[in-house]
Symmetry: D3
Subunit: 132 residues, 6 copies
Amino acid sequence: MTTRDRYADGLARLAEVDGEQGQRVIDALQDVAPDLARYIIEFPFGDIYQRSGLDLRQRQIATIAGLTALGHAQPQLKVHIGAGLNVGLTPNEIVETIMQMAVYAGFPAALNAIFTAKEVFSERGLLPVEED
Amino acid sequence: MTTRDRYADGLARLAEVDGEQGQRVIDALQDVAPDLARYIIEFPFGDIYQRSGLDLRQRQIATIAGLTALGHAQPQLKVHIGAGLNVGLTPNEIVETIMQMAVYAGFPAALNAIFTAKEVFSERGLLPVEED
Amino acid sequence: MTTRDRYADGLARLAEVDGEQGQRVIDALQDVAPDLARYIIEFPFGDIYQRSGLDLRQRQIATIAGLTALGHAQPQLKVHIGAGLNVGLTPNEIVETIMQMAVYAGFPAALNAIFTAKEVFSERGLLPVEED
Amino acid sequence: MTTRDRYADGLARLAEVDGEQGQRVIDALQDVAPDLARYIIEFPFGDIYQRSGLDLRQRQIATIAGLTALGHAQPQLKVHIGAGLNVGLTPNEIVETIMQMAVYAGFPAALNAIFTAKEVFSERGLLPVEED
Amino acid sequence: MTTRDRYADGLARLAEVDGEQGQRVIDALQDVAPDLARYIIEFPFGDIYQRSGLDLRQRQIATIAGLTALGHAQPQLKVHIGAGLNVGLTPNEIVETIMQMAVYAGFPAALNAIFTAKEVFSERGLLPVEED
Amino acid sequence: MTTRDRYADGLARLAEVDGEQGQRVIDALQDVAPDLARYIIEFPFGDIYQRSGLDLRQRQIATIAGLTALGHAQPQLKVHIGAGLNVGLTPNEIVETIMQMAVYAGFPAALNAIFTAKEVFSERGLLPVEED
């Protein structure tokens, strides 16, 4: 497999998972760090998100949990909550994933993530969140 | 629902999810912070792990991802990798969850978590990890 | 003790400690994660902040120190700096608590927390901070 | 005030607060980074721990809370739990301080800190911890 | 050497490295925590940034890398990216330093830092970033 | 450029920078997460460490600073302190890099990193550290 394949596959997966928001990040990098944009396409989306072993819904549960726990990654969390919806997670599943992080990373990390989720759900007309 | 119900339900769920290792943590707390043991049983296991909305396999994906991202929680990660196996995750699913955190929390966090997983898999005779 | 008692006791303690700001967080959660609101009332305020062993001023010193060290919890830090004033800490005691974190968590964490404190003090007409 | 005064005052305060354990850290730095040892004496102990505004017991509550929340500072947490006892905190006050961090930094951070406290209490014959 | 010397030397180094932005932080602290301002001048700039062993360009590489990895220190990162330019780092060297942190601290930390760098470069008319 | 080139180039760079210790990590991953080993070779060493813009000594300053600030990455810090020596940093430059992180990430992070450096220097007969 050539490097170009990883790039093409990554770009397609980025569009599928992150949608327009992912492309906006890629565009914003062009005049400052275009190679970072390329690596994002090639490594996370051209390598990791191509893998079998977990489906895309499971991968987004992992990503939302990890970004919530980190605490300092609100812009990426916002993109990936949208991505979670894009690949079929329900708002309630996303809320449950974040709420569980209150146990492991503390209530502030969970609260900040929930309010980021609220923004995304609001933009998509998904409030109030209903139990599945 | 009384407090005693949360405690009883939590204790049962702790046994189901974390097995012996969870009980060992509870026991070790008795002479130093018995109420912290009680809160672990009541809140994470009596409240959060009782919830519908995610099944236990999804909850363990979230927990393993979050603990990997935190980086400083190796003893809890060890317990929850075991818990992931207890509730039906395959070793390969656990490896995929951790590996994805290389993207979000960096390679050191992912590497340390993988070596913790290797310990657990080795203790249970699950090495080498096979793709599903 | 029933669950309802924890909720009622927690709500009273939340009002006493966090005041209006706490209630605003609880309200904002209602359409996205009402159970997270309930857990905040029941566990931190219904369990932990009910405990003897430390008085409320000591608890707020611990909370302000912990949130400063975490670094990613500015909204919660803002609420708890206000809470510190509510339970009787002086602005100077809050500044000393934050400043000490420069040693343990670095100057950026301390600086960001001090500027959050400055906002709270300014809103309450408590600037300039006088030594006790 | 000359630099020498900060050093002398810091050394005295280090001995008072951290006892032998602090001196052991200072000694261990001599062949690798002696100036880091000097800065520890001059800045945290010669400047910060000389300040009025908080007494030493309050300062140790803040430090124990902050180090618990950080998660990666177990050796320093061990020294400062000992220091908390040295300046008059009870084992129970230390446990309460750590337990409160479960709310803000998550249960793993609190658990790891409690087991560090258990080591210190055990070395000093202070187990089981009694409520005050 | 007297304390006054550290202060004077620190103030001169702060002006050289951080420029106006450093002074603005110092000024903003005067009514809330003037001693924190004094410590910033005396310890980081009066002690650490006075040391030989690394030149100022190397020190800014270290600082930018460290602040990027921390994740919660965007205001300080902004000041120190400016400082990197002030002491002679090229925009490209700063981008490379940040991009390398994608490996160790994850892509979100690197992305947030790159967008902070983009702001600084934009304010100084340094976009697009050219390879050296 | 094909994927195989990245792998071959990455393996050569890994050997040059991390030496035997890097290979040991790669080997230890084979029965648990061989693809993580491959990604480490391809992305950090086949992409990032191949870049111009910073020389290898500057890259190790950045890496040592970042890993020190993270706090939870002692095994990787140990490898990269060795790598710093391999590419020509002096022990004193490594100590200065770590010591500077006391300002940004706090004294505990700096202290733990210094003691990791002490281990590496001791294994290579480089103690006591001399000023350059």
